[in-house]
Amino acid sequence: MIEIDIRLARAGGFALECGFAVPGSGVTALFGRSGAGKTTVIQAVAGVVRPDAGRIAVKGEVFFDSARGIDVPIEARRTGYVFQDARLFPHLSVESNLRYGERRSRAVERPVRFEAVVELLGIGPLLTRRPHTLSGGERQRVAIGRALLAQPRLLLMDEPLAALDEARKAEILPYLERLRDETRLPILYVSHSIDEVLRLADTLVALREGRQVAAGPVAQVMSQPAMLPVLGRFDLGTLLECVVSRHDPAYALSSLAFAGGELRVPQVARAVGEKVRARVRARDVAIARTRPEDVSVSNLLPAVVEEVRLREGPYADIMLRVGEARLASMVTRESVERLALSPGLVVWAMIKSVAVDSRNPEFTEPPQRHGA
């Protein structure tokens, strides 16, 4: 359990006030616009800034408690902090940078291996170089490696992937997922990218101008109306809790059962019967009045229109009920009229693509809330 309940005012007028408790393993995403206070929260957990009041505890260990006068020194917290700016030591080679935290960790507790990290981050050829000769992305990769090798009991990542290309991101994310799952390392993750958040996070804390807008399991938070101003319109979607029901190796597809039926998705690395989470973006859901025949779209589900919300601009939000589940769809207003969509209408939902997250299902249990 990671419990954070802090207040902090900065010169310049910014005030942070947030309180949440998230599971002590898995990934918690801090999400919010530029200047919302994400870095400030991370800094408070690391001990780099001291809150005016409040309490911070990670897995039962109290890092900070203004009431009891506790303020554990930074180095004793062992939070592997990946800074927004890489902060590599200029006087050390890349290798010595990587080893810096490793040397200072207890030898018996080294689940993260040097070779594995170097291999993963593709920094082998850079080991003898000095930080000032690295490119922006190379620097950030070394910083990630350095934090991992410090064998932290908590990982704090402040937009660690922003400077990386898509391909590199796609390589690092699964490693972080594996780390999260295998070492049960809790991760506090700051990101602007809702895709990254949804892919990685179990728990989501949304900040807006220093205030906590929402906090809780990703699926739950994403459907809260308070999130609308935080998320961009195109990022709206639905999260479906599913169980792997079948694999189809010939086509490299898997079937997932959920409350509204079954989804065909690219093969997932989970055994049949395991829980997974699927995300369907509203813009990827089209609606048909009659069942379209012979279309390439694999997922066609019978649905009932529950609500039609016309918006400014060309779009409308349609809420569909698919079996027991709800599904959001985004279509043009023109289509609403053409298809005469209205609540109660029976339609077909065409789901063009599905993002599946093979997270360890035990992390999806709702955490207890605490504080504000």
Partner: protein, 229 residues
Amino acid sequence: MLTPEEWTAVALSLKVAFWATFWSLPLAVLTAWVLARASFPGKGLLDGLVYLPLVLPKVVVGYLLLLTLGARGFIGQYLDAWFGIKLIFTTAGATVAAAVVSFPLTVNAIRLALEAVDRGLETAARTLGASRLDVFFSVTLPLMLPGILSGALLAIASALGEFGATITFVSNVEGQTRTIPLAIYSATHVPDGDAMALRLTLVSVVLALGSLLLAGLVDRRIRRMIGRA
């Protein structure tokens, strides 16, 4: 070229300058750190105290040393009684005088270097599990090296040139405390001592240029090492 007597003075000067710098450097680093980073009541006083040897006439500094560290001085008597350390009239005393006079310069140079160290890097080191002390030795100190070198250079230079405090505190005892400046001083006070004074001045100049050259080389190497080149 030089008389044996002059060689003695040169050797002694080098010895005094080296040891004065050697012993005062760690204390200077500590003092600089305290002045730059710590905050406590009476810090202003410490600050003032450190710069005092600079602002006072060196002869006064020497006299104050005499009062405190002389064989009858209120610290000196115990140094002698308890540890058998005699400073007055000895090379050790000359070293102390040189160290005291160069101390403010050393501290100042190191302090400037310390203040230029990016504290974000120190924070980063602590998040990686390094204690404050560990951070100091593994991050702060290496990044300060050019400043420390510069401080050491100033210390050596000013120790080579130190005269007033040395002669007042430990006087001029041949082979013990007679450094180049004392020899030069004597030479300039003899009507036909100009030639000797000039020779010794040239020696000083050569020593100064030599140590600068050396410092420059070391400096470039350090900078390359810490990636500031």
